[in-house]
Point group: C2
Chain length 149, copies 2
DNA sequence: TACTGTTTGATAACAATTATCCGCCAATGT
DNA sequence: ACATTGGCGGATAATTGTTATCAAACAGTA
């Protein structure tokens, strides 16, 4: 099995290539920010990444972390867990149901709970996680955005 | 079929009962904020609700809207579309996969895409919506939080 | 009507994120 | 190796979304 360091070395090499391909300078800060973010499976916040990067580069600026994370998001090297993190979105539908989310205009439409066959889990869940409910988020283009595109 | 006004009258009546049950004063502001939020199927932001309420109560304060929306959320009269709207959460896993979200500590764990049988849609989608991908969000308690109950 | 705890509106404070600006450095060409 | 230059990093101001504070007004109760 590959060691963590070997995996990270591979990731960093791929990262360097990606930088050249996109005309991005490969700076020390950029590399550390990427390595830290890519090594985490816990879906950290920018602040959490900032704290980790500071251990290696105490002088790093929070703005630099944000700027690079956004670059990585645009490049597709990282993803955001959900598209709705900007502002609270309220839902008067208190029954279990699902959502259709437009990635262009961020509109959200309901799909009733019965609109989807019960979701079946194949693999084992992380030991001890107690599921209380679930919902499916379908991402794509809403009618309006699909039309004018 | 019930008219929109009849539906709203029913909602407002239920709302008044709910207020009495919970020892909440039923003020004009509170009633309008609830009626506006409950009548929307488009998952509006607090700002959007504020703009709509202002049409009926031009002097209403944004803080009042926020305070009441939070009261409605606690009461279970409204829900938030997602738990992750506070801050950006980054994900280095760029493959399709699902998430286990702890409603207590907000931790997020991955479930690989193959860990769930393909989701099947029963009902018709809103006409013209083009689905590009989907992911399932399982909500509950993570091992740590489930343990300390 | 008088009493009392709640609610409202105005605004300050706070948190998360982005914009601005300038000195510096990585990439490129010589 | 050196000079040039456009991008980059750090500091910090500005913006956005949300919550806290507080005095005046109000709803519930008797
Ligand atoms: Mn909904
Ligand atoms: Mn993930
Ligand atoms: Zn759209
Ligand atoms: Zn937890």
């Amino acid at each position: 099995m590959a060691s963590s360091k070997a995996v990270q070395a591979h990731l960093v090499a791929a990262f360097r290539d990606e930088c050249r391909r996109r005309g991005l300078a490969s700076t020390h800060q950029r590399e550390v920010i990427y390595r830290v973010a890519a090594s985490r499976i816990d879906h950290p916040t920018p602040e959490a990444i900032y704290d980790l990067v500071k251990r290696e580069i105490p002088s790093v600026s929070l703005a630099t972390v944000y700027k690079n994370l956004n670059i990585f998001l645009e490049a597709g090297l990282l993803r955001e867990v959900t598209m709705h993190h900007g502002s609270l979105r309220l839902d008067p539908n208190t029954h279990p149901h699902h959502h259709l989310v437009c990635e262009r205009c961020k509109s959200i439409a309901d799909l009733p709970g019965e609109g989807v066959e019960p979701v079946r889990i194949r693999s084992k869940l992380p030991k001890g996680f107690r599921v209380e409910r679930y919902s499916v988020e379908f991402t794509g283009l809403c009618p309006k955005c699909a039309q004018r595109q």
